[in-house]
Symmetry: C2
Subunit: 446 residues, 2 copies
């Protein structure tokens, strides 16, 4: 079969869940017991190269089956497509998926259906970068600015960013890209760590992990807050005293507060010099974030991991509601929509500090920040990617952290490919781990 004739032959889906709630890793004020999970998708083709495209939606347990059902609902749009055409222009599929006139009713462009679109679109980018034998960040950084502009759906954002402005930003971003790529390969991209800051940890563990983080070369850590002000005050004091004044401490409320509470609580913690307050209130509340930002300065306001699409990001920027924009690789409609969001951030001059953690989010999102550095914003100043030390071993090309920096991936693709043995073990409910676990629970109940 000639390469141009190759087609997508299958869209395989897997419900993969890790039993992370059994330790206290990952607990915050809104998510006390997450089981980090992936609604995982594999695009298979009949090309002779045997290359597959991998992608996923990230969830925290229950509902991962709903997310799989949503990806299944997209299958008819993908199977039978020309692999060559798909990889030459992922934007065509992205537009077809967000434009499906019936599926659109379930959003539009938000929640379960949009995350499913993101999983499939990201799998196409993984396939495209693998076929080009480049890590995704480099595949994007090498792409022609005009082609990148064509990958973006400008509907609903032209009042903030036109295609012409996007093209100009990308052209300017290309100047010096080769030098920055070399610097990236040498030094990596700055990370910060959330590992010390989970709510379930006692002060001794917090001190130990915060001290270790500084010793490991991190210049920023993050603490979860929002459950209890007295506890938060104590934990911020403990953390600040562990790391000293030169290290940034971000705090993260995970949407716990109303606007007034967010302001009061953040001001109460201001004496510990928090760098940003993250998700102070609902991710839908643009005007609320703007009110919080006005009130808590110089503490910065950060949000984005639950922001549903480019339209809400656009408004957060228009309203002056955020100091830090936190993209997530698996919440919005995939790479195409994240390109739009990176460009909006560049237009408004707001630094992008991605959300990561969970399962596989670090692996994915590093590529987007590295592209942003090499070929768009041109800087890592005030840019850090979240790092959480969880579940990386399940991936074939796991992130590598060195001296508080993400090392630039060299393997082709989007670093999304999970180990086959992990898929077999953690598929829910039939994988070997869950089958044994459910049998044991049944035995205990009997």
């Amino acid at each position: 079969m000639s390469p141009t004739a190759a087609r997508i032959t299958a869209v395989d889906t897997h419900d993969i869940r890790f039993p992370t709630s059994r330790e206290l890793d990952g607990s915050d004020a809104m998510n006390p017991d997450p089981d980090y999970s992936a609604a995982y998708v594999v695009l298979r083709t009949d090309a002779a190269d045997g290359i597959e495209g991998h992608g996923f939606s990230f969830t925290i347990g229950r509902g991962n089956d709903v997310q799989v059902a949503a990806i299944d609902a997209l299958r008819a749009h993908v199977v039978g497509r020309s692999v060559g055409e798909l990889c030459a222009d992922p934007g065509t599929l992205f537009r077809d998926l967000i434009g499906d006139s019936q599926l659109r009713w379930l959003g539009p462009e938000k929640g379960v259906m949009h995350m499913a679109i993101g999983a499939v679109v990201n799998a196409v980018w993984d396939l495209a970068a693998k076929r080009a034998a480049k890590p995704l960040w480099q595949f994007l950084a090498d792409a022609e600015p005009a082609w990148l502009v064509d990958q973006i759906d400008f509907r609903y954002i032209t009042d903030a960013l036109t295609p012409e402005e996007a093209l100009e930003l990308l052209r300017r971003g290309r100047r010096g890209a080769a030098e920055r790529a070399a610097r990236l390969r040498e030094k990596g991209f700055p990370a910060y760590t959330t590992s010390p800051g989970w709510l379930g940890y006692d002060d001794e563990k917090l001190t130990r992990l915060a001290t270790q983080a500084v010793a490991d070369g991190f210049t920023q850590i993050k603490l979860k807050v929002g459950a209890d002000l007295a506890d938060d005050t104590r934990r911020c004091r403990v953390a600040r005293s562990a790391v000293g004044p030169g290290i940034r401490i971000a705090i993260d409320a995970n949407q716990r507060w109303n606007v007034a509470e967010a302001i009061t609580w953040t001001k109460a913690l201001a004496e510990f010099d928090p760098y940003w307050i993250e998700e102070p209130t609902s991710p839908d509340d643009i005007l609320g974030h703007a009110a919080v930002r006005r009130a808590v300065a110089p503490v910065k306001v950060a949000t984005g991991e639950h922001v549903q699409n480019r339209i809400v990001f656009k408004q957060l920027l228009q309203a002056g509601a955020i100091d830090i924009l936190q993209i997530d690789a698996a919440r919005v409609g995939g790479v195409n929509e994240n390109l739009a969001i990176l460009l909006l951030a560049a237009k408004f001059g707001v630094p992008v500090c991605p959300h990561a953690g969970g399962v596989g989010l670090c692996e994915l999102v590093q590529h987007l920040s590295m592209f942003d550095f090499v070929a768009l914003s041109g800087t890592t100043d005030d840019r850090v990617i979240e790092y959480v030390d969880h579940l990386h071993d399940h991936f074939l090309d796991p992130v590598v952290i060195r001296e508080g920096h993400y090392t630039a991936p060299a393997a082709p693709g989007f670093s999304a490919t999970m180990r086959p043995e992990s898929i077999a073990r953690y598929t829910y409910p039939g994988g070997t781990f869950w089958a044994a676990d459910l049998a044991q629970q049944k035995g205990e109940a009997a």
Copy 2:
């Protein structure tokens, strides 16, 4: 079994689809071929009365199975609950559902998962009103203001509406409620009709249906616009000349435009004196709606059928982005969240004109407007409920339109109960209609 011991024994779900795309009824600029569908839920109990609670999410075809899967994911929260406690306080279940710490990741409070919550919560209200032997509008209008306030989750809206303000609005709303209920039973609630205005109709059919609408007592009609400006100009002229100057003509772009297009297009149609422009742009674009509203006055701006939750409605009101608030009974988290939205509208003095149509949306939403009239806003001035003459016969207690008004339902419940024979016929893909249809398609393909 004593009534207090009765429990929810089952949450049955049905994927029901009507082949509406085969006629042109229902086509607009973004939804050319909807198959009106319901992800339908039935709560069964072991109470001796045999009363069931019925509810549904409305979709337009593909993805209805995803919506069913989302309702299935809620089952564990509902089965085994005390019927008495559930009906005495539906708010407890509503809070449990939106607060499920793992399912929340799939939203939060938006899209597929939130619509599923709405379906289940509405089924509880149907059950509660049936057990009280009252139509839902009356059940709500008779309820104590303090109890209604307790039904609301104020998280993320207290900067616009406090529980104390809500209580005061409801107390004030109760004055004169008995007289208004009597007037409602006598005259009904004003409706407007979208039936003349679908994009697929030619001018002759538009003229005929618009003329008929006026003869039937409607004082407002609605035209779909946004596909082609020359066509829209001609159709607006035809409609205005058919109905004369005294009838309101609303126009509806179904999210077709960017902000600048919305302004230009609406101004171009202003000569035909449109009453409101509906969904001029993305339902997520609060600031965009505000910009459109400033530019197109005195044409009013209306939106809401795709607004995901109370938090976005709050901001549309705070930003002065809308003149007309269009609730939908089956998009947000059910009656509890719609109570919050009705109260926000009352607080800001913005009239509520519900979205309806599809399948069953008229049946549901009439109850909310009637409650609003009887026990909250106290007026029908500038309030109209959308009416579309589709698929009502599939319901046991279909809406009745008389002289351009919705007649107040008298039967107990939320008017949500679909005829068993309709469920059997239109269940997808196994119901008698679809089984025959799919067999025929297969035969033609062979």
